[in-house]
């Protein structure tokens, strides 16, 4: 599997469209334990990415990831902007340092995950997007090169997002609810799952 420019363009388009389509669900999850703006914020950010899609797809991959990151930072308007933005900025930065896809996928993805953790001063188990991103990273580390990697990643993300429901939030707006955050899936974990699964679907469809 190598990432051709057209494949990448389709991948970004599918991922953005999936996030935009899931905006009502993300908002509804966020209304339960947050301020209810995650869906509209993510929709605004990924609409801005779609508007730049032609320019983004003409850039070298590492620059394209940074442009996506910067666009999210500037347009999302909530904490998820800098969080997702930092993921793509760091992943692009890692790729620019002689890392290659798909061989170094886990390492590049890991740079993004570390950036999210640093930006949010958050770890696994705190009911955040990291509770999807970290398990996905673990699957990438152990599964790179395996023929069923895409399916494994998709399953990991789906299971990980459900595991956020019994967690109590200690970061972000949901932490104000204390134990009342228990029982609800985390909206950031859900949007991470949407993104990861959209990338999986796009890669499968393009093979």
């Amino acid at each position: 599997m190598s990432l051709q420019p057209e494949t990448f363009k389709t991948l970004v388009k599918v991922a953005a469209e999936q996030v935009i389509a899931s905006a009502p669900e993300l908002t509804s999850l966020d209304q339960a334990i947050g301020d209810g703006d995650h869906g509209t914020n993510m929709k605004r950010g990924f609409e801005a990415v779609l508007n730049k899609l032609d320019a983004i797809s003409e850039q070298p991959l590492h620059e394209a990831l940074k442009t996506i990151g910067k666009t999210l930072v500037m347009t999302v308007g909530g904490a998820s902007g800098p969080l997702y933005g930092s993921f793509f900025l760091a992943a692009g930065e890692a790729l620019s340092h002689s890392k290659q896809l798909p061989d170094d996928l886990a390492e590049v993805f890991g740079s993004g995950v570390s950036a999210v953790s640093a930006r949010g001063r958050s770890q696994a188990g705190e009911k955040t997007m990291l509770d999807v991103l970290i398990p996905v990273l673990e699957t990438l580390k152990t599964g790179t090169g395996r023929p069923d990697l895409i399916e494994q990643v998709r399953n990991t993300a789906a299971e990980a997002v459900e595991r956020t429901a019994p967690m109590q939030a200690t970061k972000g707006r949901a932490s104000y609810l204390g134990s009342r955050s228990v029982g609800h899936v985390d909206p950031g974990a859900r949007s991470s799952c949407v993104l990861v699964q959209a990338v999986c679907a796009s890669l499968e469809g393009g093979q």
């Binding site: 509209t40 914020n41 605004r44 930072v73 500037m74 308007g77 904490a79 930006r119």
Partner: protein, 130 residues
């Protein structure tokens, strides 16, 4: 004229940001540069990195800038904005861990006396200690 530390107020609500800036002005008049912003890129409740960068640059002083924020997203977006400044400015901007209204008024009052950025920050952050 001796420069004073600039103050930036970042709230999810433009009304709160403006009201806080009004209270700061009442204390320090025009001795201290004050800038504020609030609202997401569509004008709803939220924060906006681009507006925060503009506010920092507008309150810029050779002594640096102290930012006061309300809730989490304002802090995260402010930290992101600081990192996106010109490299020579980044080390002279701090996000204070302090309540937004009291912190802004205390920070501006301290700044008006000619204090350093570290002193201004310390006075604001005392409000969150203990």
């Amino acid at each position: 004229m001796n420069d004073t530390v600039g103050i930036v107020i970042v709230s999810h609500s433009k009304d709160i940001a403006k009201g806080t800036a009004d209270m700061v002005r009442q204390m320090v008049g025009s001795e201290v540069k004050v800038a504020f912003c609030g609202g997401d890129p569509d004008g709803g409740l939220g924060t906006n990195v681009s507006l925060i960068i503009d506010a920092i640059n507008s309150a810029w002083s050779s002594k640096g800038v102290a930012i006061l924020v309300d809730l989490g997203g304002a802090e995260t977006n402010s930290e992101m904005a600081v990192e996106m400044l010109e490299p020579e400015r980044r080390d002279f901007v701090v996000v204070c861990n302090a309540p937004i209204v009291e912190g802004a008024v205390m920070a501006a009052t301290e700044a008006a006396g000619g204090s350093t950025l570290a002193q201004v920050r310390a006075v604001a952050e005392e409000l969150s200690a203990g």
